[in-house]
Amino acid sequence: MKKIEAIIRPSNLETLKAALNALEVRGMTVYNVMGRGLQKDVKQFYRGQEISIDLFPKVKVEIICRDHWLDRIIDVILEECSSGQIGDGKIFVYPIEDIIRISTGERGDAAL
């Protein structure tokens, strides 16, 4: 099993959710985060005081899946969230050791 963390633009969340649904991948956890990277700062002004903003609102979508699903899900994310512009975001893949469904106590794949 793998854990996929995709950091995307908030505006891509709905379309990504729909695409994953089509794939019958429903399970996901969504985080509200701020991100910094290659995207360049923007200026804001409060009573004439200039503020340079370097953290941008992003959404992190976390999906735990069986190994053989990994690439398919990554492809969907790339399809739905890539505009080719800096700031589209990143996908991180992590190992995961175990899963338990709280309602039933099932473990491993069965818990998904």
Binding site: P10, S11, L13, E14, A18, V30, N32, V33, P57, V59
Partner: protein
């Protein structure tokens, strides 16, 4: 009737339907009697009292959890809508129609029949009858609104609608008649300038009874429940204080010296109520809080309400200093001890504060301020205190009993509360199908999937 005929003569049936409830100038006093200054004051005072109920919605709304804030706003807004209509159709005439045996008002004014552009022949004869009607109507509205604080976060909305209509008709309207409509409490000589018994005791005690009948929120035993937005509560308190000037000073029903004095004592009582509550908690647990400050201000306003047309500035300060610590103990100690879940302290502040105010009026009232009224104990008239005590007792008993009967009655038909799961999800989503803050708190910029 004649109008009715006329319209039919005009060959319009619809007119018959409409006309039937149109003014009969005959019944009313002379328009030339209208004083523009008094009229201007009572119209704006009415608007001030109207804004108190949305103020109350914010005051209460900030105290509940994020998942229930809309249910509070919805209840307050529903009260405004329902009682506004009930009042012109039936409520006003039950409260202020010609007295029937000191118990209730006659139906002469139902649906505003006989109400024109002129002053009433009986009440506030220097302003248009409609202005007096609206001013009194706003009192009926906020009173029904105050109760909601007691059963917040658990009552079914459908039950709430029925309850509100029954309560305002069976509890508020008669009480208003007894005290202000020439009913038996008025004859008894009870002093209640702006509604200590009619408004605050009736709503506070009814709230306590409702809280007891509905029982505690499930989550209440599991965890402490914190206000989700205190700035919202403070904003509401500010609107309450603001509107209360219309509530109390408007009750003079004229722009005169009495109104001015009522305005002054209202402000000082609110101020000293805030000071005394904050001092009490500062001594008790070591922190002066804004939640305490606004709660104390409201307690002070509640307590001075019945007294505002009868007492001196200094007396109003004393009343404020008294009510703060007492209400603080009521909500922080007594409630815990007795274990009833008066969620937002409708009883703890309005029931307790209103009672203190009604009795204090029996102590501090003086004919120096209001020559048409009576002296209180401190001005040599112990009898007044007794009268006040009786009127308090009657208000407590009547409001408590009726609320019990109304809720028990409804509970024969349906359960009063939402179920545990709905309570966990929150009333906003489960009852109203809405989220107060959309998805926005979730950083997905307030968007969802279109259905």
């Amino acid at each position: 009737m004649n109008i009715n005929l006329r319209s039919i003569k005009n060959g319009s049936l619809a007119a018959a339907l409409v006309g039937i409830l149109t003014p009969l100038p005959a019944l009313a006093a002379d328009a030339s009697a209208i004083n523009t200054g008094d009229t201007a004051w009572i119209m704006i005072a009415t608007a001030l009292v109207m804004i108190m109920t949305p103020g109350l919605a914010l005051f209460y709304g900030g105290m509940v959890r994020k998942k229930n804030v809309l249910s509070i706003l919805m209840q307050c807004f529903t009260v405004i809508a329902l009682v506004s209509v009930q009042w012109v159709l039936l409520g006003y005439t039950l409260s202020f129609g010609p007295d029937v045996k000191g118990i209730i008002g006659g139906l002469d004014f139902w649906g505003m029949s006989g109400v024109g552009l002129e002053p009433s022949a009986t009440y506030a004869t220097t302003i248009p009858h409609t202005v007096f009607i609206m001013f009194q109507g706003m009192f009926a509205i906020i009173t029904a609104g105050l109760i909601t604080g007691a059963f917040a976060e658990r009552m079914k909305f459908s039950v709430f609608v029925i309850f509100t209509l029954l309560w305002t008709t069976l509890v508020y309207d008669p009480l208003a008649h007894w005290v202000w409509g020439g009913g038996f409490l008025a004859k008894l000589g009870a002093l209640d300038f702006a509604g200590g018994t009619v408004v605050h005791i009736s709503s506070g005690v009814s709230g306590l009874v409702a809280a007891l009948i509905l029982g505690r929120r499930f989550s209440k035993d599991r965890e402490a429940i914190l206000p989700h937005n205190l700035p919202m509560t403070v904003t509401g308190a500010a609107l309450l204080w603001f509107g209360w000037f219309g509530f109390n000073a408007g009750s003079a029903l004229a722009a005169n010296g009495l109104a001015g004095m009522a305005f002054l004592v209202t402000n000082t009582a609110a101020a000293s109520g805030a000071i005394s509550w904050v001092l009490a908690e500062w001594l008790d647990h070591g922190k002066p809080t804004i939640f305490g400050a606004v709660s104390g201000a409201v307690a002070g306003l509640v307590a001075v309400t019945p007294a505002s047309g009868y007492v001196t500035p200094l007396a109003s300060i004393i009343i404020g200093l008294l009510v703060g610590p007492i209400c603080y103990l009521a909500v922080s100690r007594v409630k815990e001890k007795l274990g009833y879940d008066d969620a937002l302290d409708a009883f703890g502040i309005h029931g307790v504060g209103g009672t203190i105010g009604a009795l204090a009026t029996g102590l501090f009232a003086t004919t120096i301020i209001n020559s048409t009224a009576a002296n209180g104990l401190f001005y040599g008239n112990p009898h007044q205190l007794w009268v006040q005590f009786v009127s308090v007792l009657i208000s407590w008993s009547y409001a408590g009993l009726m609320t019990f009967l109304i809720l028990k009655g409804i509970s024969l038909v349906t359960s009063l509360r939402v179920n545990k799961e709905e309570e966990e999800i929150g009333l906003d989503a489960s009852l109203h199908g809405e989220d107060a803050y959309g998805y926005s708190e979730m950083g997905v910029e307030g968007t969802g999937v279109m259905g």
